[in-house]
């Protein structure tokens, strides 16, 4: 144990490890907050769809040789998030079918573009690291860390400021509308925040594992806590703790960062599920 602590303290001396921890904590915190709303609104799989869209946009940015690829990825992902979340009941292609279509479509087009207009000597490596986020969080530049901090603060501020409105449209959109809440604007706001979080989370766990960051902490918290506030707070704590454990284990054991974080989330879910079983038997 002292050897592990010594090794960890040695690793913490490296700035890129500290950047990874800062970004990891912020991204997992933001994704877990919105995760509760998305799970309750039956949009659990939107993270997966949007991350594939972000992957497609990343490929286009690579083909067009755009240096700051965020300039393309963010607007494209936000636009698709708005389309998916705001067309709602009036859409010709409904919820899950639209997400599935966008998800596989963007993934396929992204991979196709990367292959046809290859700009790298190692396409499979680029695709692999984008999809599974093996080490991308350990290769962040300081500008990316600043961008992540700024976007995370914006997401947290919006969530705290509009907490009651988000709560209202999460549980009963029609009732919220009847009480004077402009649901269109708030659905739009949620769509934009979700897109921002997905793009940020891609650096942490990779496109294929983004859904886990959105879904697992919320579902774990829902096993034990019953009020919206308690679930949101617990979800945030679980998400941050699992991300920290995941990053630390990954750098100590040399495992892929993204999948180690998701593994920690799965363990937490098992733990909270067991607690809920014990609680129900106790009652």
């Amino acid at each position: 144990m002292p050897e592990l602590l010594e090794k960890l303290s040695f690793y913490l001396d490296f700035p890129f490890v500290r950047y990874a921890i800062i970004v990891g904590v912020l991204v997992s915190l933001c994704s877990s907050l919105l995760g509760v709303t998305l799970v309750l609104k039956r949009y659990s799989y939107i993270g997966d769809g949007l991350s594939h869209v972000a992957f497609g946009a990343l490929s286009i940015a690579a083909v067009l040789k755009i240096t700051n690829n965020m300039l393309l990825i963010l607007p494209v992902t936000i636009a698709v998030a708005v389309l998916l979340l705001c067309t709602g009941k009036n859409a010709r292609i409904k919820g899950d079918a639209a997400i599935a279509m966008v998800s596989v479509g963007a993934l396929a087009i992204g991979y196709l573009l990367m292959n046809v207009f290859s700009t790298s000597a190692n396409i499979s490596g680029d695709v692999c690291t984008t999809l599974f986020g093996s080490t991308s969080i350990l290769t962040l530049r300081i500008e990316e860390v600043y961008l992540c901090v700024a976007l995370s603060i914006a997401v947290l501020a919006v969530f705290i400021l509009f907490y009651h409105k988000i709560f209202a449209i999460t549980f009963d959109e029609n009732f919220a509308q009847a009480t004077g809440v402009n649901t269109t604007i708030f659905n739009l706001l949620i769509a934009v925040i979700v897109a921002v979080i997905i793009v940020l989370a891609m650096n942490l766990v990779g496109a294929l594992l983004v859904s886990a960051l959105v879904v697992f902490p919320s579902l774990s918290a829902m096993r034990v806590f019953k009020s919206f506030f308690a679930v949101t707070v617990a979800s945030a704590v679980i998400s941050v703790v699992c991300s920290l454990i995941g990053i630390v284990v990954a750098i100590l054991a040399g495992t892929p960062v993204g999948s180690t974080i998701v593994a920690a989330d799965i363990v937490a879910f098992g733990l909270f599920y067991s607690i809920s079983l014990i609680q129900s038997k106790g009652v």
């Binding site: 190692n122 490596g125 599974f132 350990l138 100590l252 040399g254």
Partner: protein, 140 residues
């Protein structure tokens, strides 16, 4: 009494003093790091080479070499893979005492340890690449 305390202190110092061979310092010892950390650190060295010029480095990795016909020069590298084994990062090295290739070099894919000084070699095109100079090479 003071003499006894002094003798005990000398004895303790002797007991806890490190073996001189252990005190050999590296500015960056990549061989002590996990695969994920090595990947992150080598990425930093490739992205920001100026920060590392002159640092004494030790790394473990896979031996790789290629011959550049245009430059008529053979490059040797120590390559490490990421945790998913889909990406690799590596550093070129130049041995301190010249060897003949392939006779005196390890086989491609062999695990090697390289020690030497980090440098950045500029090429004619205005670019460049990081390289470990005055390197000692050991095959495992």
């Amino acid at each position: 009494m003071p003499q006894i305390i002094f003798a005990v202190l000398i004895l303790c110092a002797a007991l806890f003093a490190k073996d001189p061979s252990d005190t050999k310092k590296y500015d960056i010892d990549l061989s002590r790091m996990s695969g994920t950390m090595v990947y992150g650190q080598v990425n930093q060295m490739v992205m920001y080479p100026q920060k590392y010029i002159g640092k004494h480095i030790r790394m473990k990795g896979i031996f790789s070499s290629y011959y550049d016909e245009e430059l008529e020069r053979r490059f040797y590298g120590c390559v490490i893979q990421d945790a998913l084994a889909c990406c690799s990062q590596g550093l070129a090295f130049e041995v301190a005492i010249p060897r003949r290739y392939p006779k005196e070099y390890p086989a491609e894919g062999d695990l090697i340890t390289v020690e030497g000084d980090f440098d950045y070699e500029k090429d004619e095109g205005g670019g460049g690449f990081p390289i470990i100079r005055k390197a000692t090479l050991s095959n495992q």
